[in-house]
Amino acid sequence: DVKVTQSSRYLVKRTGEKVFLECVQDMDHENMFWYRQDPGLGLRLIYFSYDVKMKEKGDIPEGYSVSREKKERFSLILESASTNQTSMYLCASSDLAGGETQYFGPGTRLLVL
């Protein structure tokens, strides 16, 4: 079974703090994705990575950066958290070869005060 884990289920941070969200997958997948999910808006892609040290912007990258130093780990960084970044953050991974299916982690619910 594919397992995607995220470092925290719930996080509370203050405006201006630097926030790290970690995601680890155990299936040797090449592709990894970060989404945020807000009511009525669905999942929106922030960044994705198709290989170690490779990254591409998604639809809403502003205010975020990412890091992929190892194949299994993909980190999302909020350089200076703002209240409009309060959201559910979901990480996913997929295989390059049969890669249509995305496997999601449980999500991190972030509240920025």
Binding site: V4, G40, L41, G42, L45, F48, Y50, Q102, G107
Partner: protein, 114 residues
């Protein structure tokens, strides 16, 4: 503009009936379309994939249809059970997307009542 739309209102049905959820899209050329299930507080889980040259796919009590002329996919759950209650997301992969990028709808919440 490009849009992928699902009915935002919750669908309430009686146990044993067939649930039908709709996904409409505009200004996309999809390579394929997927359906995911999401339970409260959890990440989405993949259910079915249908390609642009396929009309219908089935898996146990689930059936997906894809009409590229109408730009619509229908997702059916037959003999529905209370355990089927969840939010169902459709996700479209544009031909131009690359790297298996998906565009998600906002989801439709299904409630199956005993």
């Amino acid at each position: 503009s490009q849009k992928i739309e699902q009915n935002s209102e919750a669908l309430n049905i009686q146990e044993g009936k067939t649930a039908t959820l709709t996904c409409n899209y505009t200004n996309y050329s999809p390579a394929y379309l997927q359906w995911y299930r999401q339970d409260p507080g959890r990440g989405p889980v993949f259910l079915l994939l249908i390609r642009e040259n396929e009309k219908e796919k089935r898996k146990e009590r689930l059936k997906v249809t894809f009409d590229t002329t109408l730009k619509q996919s229908l997702f059916h759950i037959t003999a529905s059970q209370p355990a089927d209650s969840a939010t169902y997301l459709c996700a479209l992969a544009p031909i131009s997307g690359g790297y298996n990028k998906l565009i998600f709808g906002a989801g439709t919440r299904l409630a199956v009542h005993p």
